[in-house]
Subunit: 247 residues, 4 copies
């Protein structure tokens, strides 16, 4: 067996979902990500028995084994290795295996907070799902199309949040000093209100604060609607392009 | 009267709302579904008198009688009987009558939980309304048109919910261990927050958790807006097609 | 002065906002509606002094005087009087003056509840604003265009609300019998949740109920988005028609 | 150096972001606004040490110095000085420096409330960001395009809020007199409910009030969706115009 043909074979398996081997590889990796995501969630349940912990550790080690092989194969077949390593999927693939090896090497034992953070990084494995979803590419393109509107939305949101936080602090700080102590407390209220989540942990009680909230929401509903408008507009455009190229 | 012409007559009545008999049949069944839905709701009121229970049971028996006759007629006129029996409407029609007969046969008496579940299945009778609504077909077509976008929405929602649940658990578990005990507790918070329902039973209190919530909602508003965009886009397209075929 | 020319003069004043008298009439009525709406709101403040009550009564009497004259003039110039009297604006104009005269005639003194209801009917005076707003006609047309989609939205909402109410009652009734006693209690929860208001007075606590809520919201977000889609689509169409007729 | 060429040089720097000096000026002012916004927020933290207060005062003085120079330069190069002074950006630029000088002159010492209000006006400095954002122009045009729809949205919102506030007061005032004392209390509930924020501080408990809330939300969802529809429609149109002028 010549190494070149072996490389081509691996390449087909890793990147081409049309072939039989490619599809099998995709299904195995899909299953491994699912198992890994469920394992992480189960580990967080408090008061697990020692046996349960051991079993979860074994499952974790197996999935990391698969992800390590996958990382090696992808590195092996990549035309430009650095582009892969420092690209979006390369970093995700690295974050999927690194925490396990760092823990084995005892890096986290130095400090409990570092250990916790390293272990938490496993959560980003879920982003590996994006690779196996054709629609993700379309989403990527839609984001590129709508870049200017997204920037406009972010800037307007920031300005509105700042004005809201300062205003509510101005109106409510005397009556509710423990809830609206500074503009930073007001920011939390502004986030919960302008997104219309409204937990109800903080809300205005003065007539001035309530009228201010009313004005903000009249403007805020328009700004909150921008993402909806962007997506409706982008989807319409994407569909038109598809219809034209198909016709 | 020849059986063939009788079959044709029944067929017309059951399926053709343009004829007088068809419309009468439609109105009767429409009324029966309404009565049945109201009966089910009234039965759940706690502390009903014995007489009220008896009266509701009689009404239930009568509506089941009508639904049974309807099921028989539809089976009788169906060209491909198995297609009807295992199709969407066939299953709905079966679920509308089965719970009653299972209860009569005493199946539920074996176990209280089974009885409860069997009785609850009656709720799906409300779906029989869909058959009498022309717009339901259009909705079905709209869903088929938007299939890819719906899949994209579901996958992105799942990934975002998982990252949200894990993240909030990471930030809040030390300060509020009784509310954010595991990732599964975090999932409930993520559902209530990203849909902007915000009951207020669980919410972040740490600065880290609050900033994380802010970031999530900035992204989440975009994802929440996808259904809105899909529908606006699909309705626009449906209207264009209608205008073109009409012109 | 001939009566015919007087009629024509009144007609111009009441219905033609292009003329000087028409505009003056419009401004006066606009002001009277505003005064009347504010008066109604002020009257509801508890613990008003006797003098304040008297002053508000005088203002009320004056506005009713103006509305009575307006009603008479409109009736006088209407080509088909019955069409005006039983049309939308005719009923609104009648509701604006009737409560006052019924109270004067002592109808409400028979029963406190009737008095309250009669007095409350004054609130519909606010709908008189619609006449002075050109955009209201466009809204009317937009509703006619989207009639089928609105019916679809209402039917789907009803079915989803019923299934939600029954489902949450099924999952939560044992743990929270005081909050989810019957399907009717569940309906209130369903309204507050599916509209994403989420007051937080009732919410599921069982794993089953929470998972059910998650599924409902995934579907519900799509249905809640229908009005948004309808309006975006209708506005786009209205704009296209405008551009075409203008070009 | 001739004064005319100096004017031209300043003009280029202040208004032309294509040149090197223009970009440098833009970056400096951008940084100053950011510093100023952060300073304002930090000042509101309760219990700051005297040293921290002094440091923040110095930073404040420096940023005001920059904003004063900017105001002078813009006034110097403006073709029509009065148009600048009383225009949107002129007022914003004035509000950015005035509070500081009023405080220095001791105006606020007369009355604590005036001092507070004068100091608070600094918050509007954040609006200076809008000048450095190209997308703001597009937003301005989008608002002009959608002017009629925005007016329709505001009028319908006002009518719906008034009817909601009066209605909920009518249904709930007897059971919850402390929460729904007058129509003005009802207005706060109406704002929190129709925007779907739903803090949960006030909510209906009577069957009548709950059914009324349900009807309102069915209509309200349509009205709330208008901004979303306006923006989707305006963005689609803006994109079409862009595509046509580009083709």
């Amino acid at each position: 067996m010549k190494p070149t043909s072996f490389l081509a074979h691996v390449h087909t398996m890793v990147d081409n979902r049309e072939t039989r081997h490619g599809r099998a590889f995709e299904y195995v990796m899909f299953g491994m990500i699912t198992v890994s995501v469920v394992t992480f969630s189960l580990e967080t349940i408090p008061g697990l028995s020692k046996q349960a912990r051991s079993a979860l550790y074994v499952v974790e080690a197996v999935t990391v084994g698969f992800f390590t092989v996958e990382y090696g194969l992808r590195l092996y077949v990549a035309r430009k290795r650095l582009t892969y390593v420092f690209g979006f999927y390369g970093i995700i693939d690295m974050l999927a295996v690194l925490p396990f090896y760092l823990a084995v090497l005892g890096v986290g034992h130095i400090d409990a907070r570092v250990l916790r953070m390293v272990r938490f990084m496993r959560v980003f494995r879920v982003l590996k799902f994006l690779r196996y979803n054709q629609a993700a590419d379309r989403l990527h393109r839609a984001i590129l199309i709508s870049k200017e509107e997204i920037v406009l939305f972010v800037i307007l949101s920031m300005i509105l949040l700042y004005v809201s936080a300062s205003g509510i602090w101005y109106f409510e700080r005397e009556i509710q000093p423990e809830k609206f102590g500074s503009v930073f407390d007001g920011l939390w209220w502004a986030v919960a209100t302008l997104t219309t989540v409204g937990y109800g942990d903080v809300y205005p009680v003065t007539p001035g604060g309530r009228f201010f909230t009313f004005l903000l929401l009249m403007i805020g509903l328009g700004i909150i609607a921008i993402p909806s408008g962007i997506i409706a507009s982008a989807l319409s455009k994407a569909r038109l392009e598809q219809d034209e190229s198909g016709g």
